[in-house]
């Protein structure tokens, strides 16, 4: 009986504490509001991947951190911050939460946030928003898009020149127009330098299923494919782990993974050696874009209603700085093709339709 009463009073105490804490909370908010005014604050909402997804959420957060540090901001309200979403029902709530915390610029990271950003942009016309990887045509939204097909073309060139079996694989996350850009550019790059190579394309159906990525990679490597390019977020981690497992069993096996979004050389490290299965990575400088857009906005140049494109020319995409696994010949070829693309000599396809046309020109 005594114990029961003790438990009851404890829980009452706890409840009371929570209520009081709730009041304190409100005060703090006001304080944050008053303390602000001269500073510029910026925040982002991740999709379900989170800021440690070793992919574009992480990359975006790195850009935001860099911006924050350079401008002397603190993490948290009134500085720079992020919120992670647990499910797609949380996007709108999280965006709203940031609006209520009075951030000056709010990023939605990833195309999945498109609807939520569209809606909140109407509801909060005085707030500034930005979305990565999608286009939202609202005066208070800036859209950041990348020419992933251009970067993918370059890693396609690497893959085409590296493969010994003339079999190359592509693992996509979801079958959506965005990933189609990766696929088309990659295919074009491979075929441009190695018309005999075949590319097997598979989609995992998700960006957060590493187990699925591993399964697909396993069957691809078993079928003789020696280079796999993944554009699948955290699903791609499975591709790395499969390649590393195979390398551990047989260190002489020549298999490679091409990373995406960031320099994924570290992800490909084989434990106990200083080698990596990462051939190269198609880096999408979300950090550059986020940093760039935050800086522009701080200086009063918010490109509202515009879609800002980041391609090879803007250094928004490209191949990773880690080139240990690439020969000089390959690097040279990459540099040549890069110049051709920047000059406009080569037009890289960004849909399957455009790829068919591109393929036709190759055959001539």
């Amino acid at each position: 009986m005594k114990k029961k009463r003790l438990g009851l009073s404890l829980s009452l105490l706890l409840t009371a504490g929570m209520l009081l804490g709730g009041c304190g909370q409100a005060k703090e908010d006001k304080a944050a509001e008053e303390g602000k005014g001269n500073g510029f604050s910026v925040a982002m909402v991740t999709d379900v991947g989170g800021i440690d997804d070793k992919s574009f959420n992480q990359s975006a957060w790195e850009g935001l951190q860099k911006f924050g540090e350079e401008n002397g901001l603190k993490k948290g309200k009134g500085g720079y911050d992020y919120l992670q979403s647990q499910s797609d029902a949380d996007y709108a709530t999280n965006l709203n939460k940031l609006v209520r915390s009075k951030f000056d610029l709010i990023f939605g990271i990833g195309f999945l946030m498109t609807d939520a950003i569209t809606e909140i942009a109407d509801q909060k016309p005085n707030n500034k928003f930005a979305i990565v990887d999608s286009v939202v045509e609202k005066p208070n939204v800036a859209s950041i898009i990348f020419k992933e097909h251009e970067g993918s073309f370059l890693v396609g060139v690497v893959a085409g020149l590296t493969t010994k079996t003339n079999k190359v694989g592509f693992v996509g996350g979801m079958e959506i127009p965005l990933i189609e850009k990766f696929e088309s550019g990659f295919l074009a790059g491979v075929k441009a330098v190695n018309p005999n190579a075949t590319v097997e394309v598979q989609y995992a159906g998700a960006f957060d299923k590493a187990d699925k990525g591993k399964a697909i990679a396993s069957s691809m490597y078993a079928s003789g494919i020696d280079v796999i390019y993944h554009a699948a977020g955290a699903t791609g981690n499975g591709v790395f782990s499969e390649a590393i497992d195979l390398k551990k069993q047989d260190p002489n096996k020549e298999i490679w993974v091409i990373g995406v979004d960031r320099d994924q050389y570290e992800e490909g490290k084989i434990p106990g050696t200083d080698k990596s299965v990462t051939l190269t990575s198609m880096v999408k400088r979300v950090d550059v874009a986020v940093y760039d857009l935050a800086t522009k906005t701080k200086n009063g140049n918010f490109p509202g209603g515009q879609a800002v494109e980041y391609g090879l020319k803007e250094d928004g995409v490209g191949i990773a700085p880690s080139t240990d696994n690439l020969s000089q010949d390959v690097l040279k070829a990459v540099e040549e093709w890069k110049q051709k693309i920047i000059n406009g000599e080569v037009k890289v396809p960004k849909t399957r339709e455009e790829y068919k046309e591109f393929e036709a020109t190759l055959k001539k």
Binding site: K4, M18, V48, Q84, Q86, S87, M174, I176, K209
Partner: protein, 348 residues
């Protein structure tokens, strides 16, 4: 009699308190401030009208999913397939929502009805397999979840969009959204679905407790042999129970499709609402009105938890652990019942 009822109410409350306490311990051990954490949770769920709106919005599908699980359970069936039934209901509702242009008073009910029928059909399959061939419904419903997920993804890609990842937005005439509700909750995604789920709870209560059909379903749930002996058609009741359960789940999907999202997008994984519905039903004691309270708790935890990382610096993973602990203690309510009874005896 009365003390029994009291115990039944005390147990879930105790479970929740224990879960909160255990969560606090986990936070302390990991070096976070539990008071700050929980006050952030509370603030994020009820702190102002926007959050209240979001919480109610989240509660809406939870009530219906909980009712779906509970309805089957009261009839002695374990419907793990609420998740899949919810997804097909969502799909059907959006499909009707985008395909027709009708006056609201026809369009909206039609869309909800389509969702109910889709969910019911999805549950009919495990029901008939159970009744005819004694295939265990748990296995079939789990498998049906995956089929629902992938089939609806394929339909979204090929029928509801042109190889895109989401459908068009539904016509306003099929929407549950309301300017009025948004204006009083500062642009939350609150919609009229909450009224439908409350009606759903009343319907379930009435159906089970007041009708001859409900009497049969409950009898079959408690004792199939006695029901057979009494002249009830056990198999037909099993199928009926699954169908009604599936209809509730389908309507839960309609809440998401016609209210929260107003469209449907390709899903990488399950929404989780159907699975949480199992915990909601458990916590609510499979009772229509208990489920409303349990759904409020879950909705508040879910929405409030989003505030914990930003206000109290508690990492998202820890929030998940705290919520899981609460569910754990609810699920082990049997233990709590044992302890409570012990106290009672010693008290005497």
């Amino acid at each position: 009699m009365n003390s029994n009822r009291l115990t039944n109410i005390m147990i879930p409350i105790f479970a929740v308190l224990l879960g909160i306490l255990a969560g606090a311990i986990v936070m302390i051990v990991s070096g976070y401030d539990p008071i700050a954490g929980y006050s952030a949770l509370l603030y994020g769920a009820f702190g102002d009208r926007y959050y209240i709106g979001e919480t109610i919005r989240q509660v809406t599908p939870y009530i219906l999913a909980g009712l779906a699980v509970a309805f089957a359970f009261r009839t002695g069936l374990f419907n793990i397939g609420v998740e899949g039934q919810l997804i097909v209901g969502w799909l059907a509702a959006v499909w009707v929502g985008v395909s027709f242009e009708l006056p609201k008073f026809i369009h909206l009910p039609l869309a909800i009805l389509a969702a109910a029928i889709a969910g019911a059909l999805w549950a009919f399959i495990p029901g008939i397999l159970k009744a005819r061939f004694k295939v265990h419904e748990v296995i079939v419903t789990i498998m049906m979840n995956y089929i629902a997920l992938h089939v609806s993804n394929a339909i979204i890609r090929s029928v509801l969009s042109d190889q895109g990842f989401k459908s068009e937005k539904i016509h306003a005439s099929a929407s549950l959204r309301s300017e009025f509700l948004q204006s009083i909750t500062d642009y939350s995604t609150l919609h009229y679905g909450i009224i439908i789920s409350l009606i759903g709870a009343v319907v379930m209560w009435f159906l089970l407790e007041k009708t001859t059909k409900g009497y049969e379903l409950r009898a079959v749930g408690f004792n199939q042999h006695a029901s057979h002996y009494a002249g009830m058609n056990v198999n037909r009741n099993i199928v009926l129970a699954m169908v009604i359960s599936g209809a509730f789940a389908g309507v839960a999907g309609a809440m998401e499709g016609l209210g929260t999202f107003e469209n449907i997008s390709v899903k990488a994984g399950f929404t989780g609402v159907g699975f949480d519905g199992i915990a909601v039903a458990l916590l609510g004691g499979n009772n229509a009105f208990g489920i409303i309270f349990a759904a409020i708790l879950f909705g508040a935890l879910k929405v409030g938890a989003l505030e914990m990382p930003s206000s109290a610096d508690v990492p998202t993973e820890l929030v998940d652990i705290v919520i899981a602990l609460i569910i754990f203690f609810v699920a082990s309510s049997y233990l709590i019942r044992l302890v409570l009874n012990r106290f009672k005896k010693e008290g005497k």
